[in-house]
């Protein structure tokens, strides 16, 4: 993971609250192996105490926890003014609770079982979003010589207007907002298409390669790169 993310990689200080020991140990070990610092707590009370007393970059909280459940923990933290970005883990079949989770102050939601690449990519996006606060009143996005006008919904590269389909526009907008970050296929599906699911084939790749045709084909430096085993990244290499 370290290599793939090269200069974009930032070490994160992560708090993991997960009562399932096999999942928890696995995630903690992998996070540490990926070069991050990870503190693992196994119940809601310990997790809450730890999150209040120590500063973390991101929180990973299981939804079902002993003593204090994940969503209550999160609400308590938010009420106490702690805005550390948090990702909530949930078992399959609780997917519907995503809305509820996001209302409780979660910034992202991941359904078990998940791949570590997915989790790490999401944590990095969360971390970056919080460390470089975006301007809410933003009307244009730009990455290198790519420029997007959010009001007129037009995109230019090197001053040349690009003709994008609505879905391609949404795809590019999301990738521009996460510029420099690895975005996974699941993240694209979630934010561009609005569904959480695991495609069996390269269905997303087809959409991305169509977009790539339009934004990279006639230009010297490619902006949209495929990160093997993880997803895509928009930005100068």
């Amino acid at each position: 993971m370290l290599g793939e993310l090269n200069n974009y990689w930032v070490k994160m200080n992560i708090l993991l609250v997960e009562d399932d020991l096999s999942v928890g140990d696995f995630v903690a070990t992998e996070l540490i192996a990926a070069g991050h610092a990870c503190c693992h707590k196994t119940n809601g009370e310990d997790g809450l105490r730890e999150a209040r007393s120590t500063f973390y970059d991101v929180l990973v909280i299981d939804r079902m926890l002993p003593l204090i459940d994940g969503l209550t923990l999160l609400k308590t933290l938010r009420n106490a003014g702690i805005t550390t970005p948090a990702l909530v883990l949930s078992a399959l079949g609780e997917v519907d609770d995503r809305v509820q989770g996001l209302k409780s102050g979660a910034d992202d939601y991941l359904v078990k079982p998940f791949s570590m690449a997915e989790l790490i990519a999401r944590l990095e996006v969360l971390h970056r979003r919080s460390s470089s606060p975006s301007n809410a009143a933003q009307t244009t996005l730009s990455v290198a010589d790519l420029r997007m006008d959010l009001l007129s919904q037009k995109v230019w590269r090197d001053g040349k207007l690009l003709n994008l389909q609505p879905r391609e526009y949404k795809l590019l907008e999301y990738m521009m907002r996460q510029a420099g970050q690895v975005v996974t296929r699941a993240m694209l599906l979630e934010h561009v298409w609005g569904y959480h699911f695991d495609p069996q084939t390269n269905v997303i790749d087809v959409h991305v390669s169509r977009l790539r045709q339009k934004i990279d084909k006639d230009f010297e430096t490619p902006l949209l790169t495929t990160i093997r085993g993880a997803g895509y990244r928009l930005g100068p290499a």
Partner: protein
């Protein structure tokens, strides 16, 4: 063929066999009784004739022919059917006295008995009847025959016999009809049990037969079947748990291998080895994805929580899936046609339903030939069940394999080598359909595959089974 089914049922055959044995036994018993009574009757008859002969002999000895004539005349007053008939002949065979006509044609029986038939005046008209007779020689060489009519005994016996046989036929008929109905009642109960059981096995192995309505041996059967279901379920869970544990436990070392490999690739490797490493990483990812898919299916199958479920617009989800897959299909020149009205809702999880249809359309695109056609149609059946058909023009699935393809890791031999995939796509489809109390069936599209997914509509009450 309900009648045929009842007739061939075990219960009916049992009842029929029982009836046959019963009737045969009763018949044999009757025959024995008949033989016994006729034997005693003839015994008494012959004894009384012998006595009568002796009486005549005594009278003849004392009062000669005149006395005998007097005696015979005295007897005429008793009814024709229950009296003796007499014939006295001289040594040349001429009739001397008596009320029988001279020398009828005799049939010789053993021990000096003879039999003959003669017309008897009964109720004014002559009736041919059978007589049993005993000839004897009187002291002076004259012959005497004493005869007695016995057909009435036979008649009575025949009457009894025929009424008994009629009763037996009636018993047999009524028994068969009764047997038919009781067999069909039993069959209905067993059939009900059958249906319940096959529904449980096909659908939710966590359900049990309802024993409260059953009585007697059907109840015992239900208890045993429930025990069997318990065992089956725990075995199934055991197997699943083992495979889940394997999948779960292997994820850790596999992820570590994968991460080490990507570390290795980052270190300056030669171009060719770097490509090899990438290949291995991709395979690790495939394997990890397979494990995740396996765990996901298990979680769905074990999941009874439908808590927090929402209204899902199936039509809208179908349009989204088709929109997502259109570019992929276009690469192969495949056209996806969709006919699915919006606002047809079901209760459930939109992401899972999306996943289910995505897997199906993914398969359809994967297996369709270039320039094929995929059709997606949704209809609502009268019982508020939404039926979604996804039909392709690919090679289809042979009928024999249509059940197996839902099993984990099952792949049709021909597709094993040709197309990528881990053989879990349809397992997941079925798990999702069943999670939503729906079903999925495969059929032929002549040619091609037709997948029919049924999801209960929202007006249907949701029974959450545990």
């Amino acid at each position: 063929m309900q009648v045929r089914k009842v007739l061939t049922s075990l219960t009916f055959r049992y009842i029929a066999r029982y009836l046959t044995v019963l009737c045969a036994t009763v018949f044999i018993l009757l025959a024995c009784l008949y033989a016994y009574f006729s034997y005693t009757y003839f015994d008494e008859l012959s004894e009384s004739i012998v006595e009568e002969v002796e009486t005549i002999q005594i009278i003849y000895r004392g009062q000669s022919l005149k006395g005998v004539n007097q005696y015979i005349e005295d007897q005429l007053s008793t009814p024709a059917t229950s009296r003796y008939y007499y014939l006295v002949t001289d040594s040349q065979g001429r009739k001397v006295a008596g009320d029988l006509s001279a020398s009828p044609s005799y049939i010789e029986f053993s021990e000096g008995w003879v039999g003959f038939s003669a017309a008897l005046l009964q109720l004014g008209k002559p009736v041919e009847v059978d007589f049993l007779a005993r000839p004897a020689t009187l002291d002076d060489g004259n012959q005497i025959i004493v005869a007695r009519y016995y057909a009435d005994a036979f008649e009575k016996a025949n009457l009894v016999f025929s009424s008994l046989s009629r009763a037996m036929v009636a018993t047999l008929l009524l028994g068969v009809i009764g047997g038919f109905f009781s067999a069909s009642a039993t069959l209905n109960r067993v059939e009900h049990l059958n249906m319940e059981l096959s529904r449980i096995i096909r659908g939710n192995p966590g359900q049990r037969l309802n024993m409260e309505q059953e009585k007697g041996y059907v109840r015992e059967l239900a208890v045993i079947m429930n025990d069997m279901l318990d065992q089956m379920e725990s075995l199934m869970q055991g197997v699943r748990r083992v495979s889940d544990n394997i999948a779960h436990d292997l994820r850790t070392p596999l992820t570590r291998i994968r991460n080490n490999l990507s570390q290795l690739r980052a270190d300056s490797l030669a171009e060719s080895s770097s490509r090899n490493v990438e290949q291995i990483i991709a395979e690790c990812d495939d394997l990890l994805e397979t494990f995740n898919a396996l765990l996901r299916i298990s979680a769905l199958e074990a999941g009874s929580r439908i808590s927090g479920n929402n209204e899902v617009d199936i039509g809208a989800v179908l349009h989204d899936v088709v929109e997502l897959y259109e570019p992929l299909a276009q690469q192969k020149g495949i056209v996806i046609g969709i006919d699915a009205p919006a606002q047809h809702n079901c209760r459930g999880d939109a992401d899972l339903i999306f996943q289910m249809f995505a897997n199906l359309i993914d398969n359809a695109v994967k297996y369709s030939a270039e320039n094929g056609i995929i059709e997606v149609r949704m209809r609502t059946l009268p019982d508020q069940v939404h039926s979604i058909i996804i039909a392709d023009s690919g090679p289809g699935i042979p009928a024999a394999d249509r059940k197996n393809v839902f099993r984990r890791f099952f792949r049709i031999q021909s597709s094993r080598s040709e197309t990528p995939g881990h053989g879990l796509g349809l397992s997941l489809v079925r798990a999702i359909a069943q999670y939503h109390q729906g079903s999925v069936e495969l059929g032929s599209n002549n040619p091609g595959l037709q997948v029919r997914v049924k999801l209960p509509g929202t007006t249907l009450s949701h029974s959450v089974t545990s």
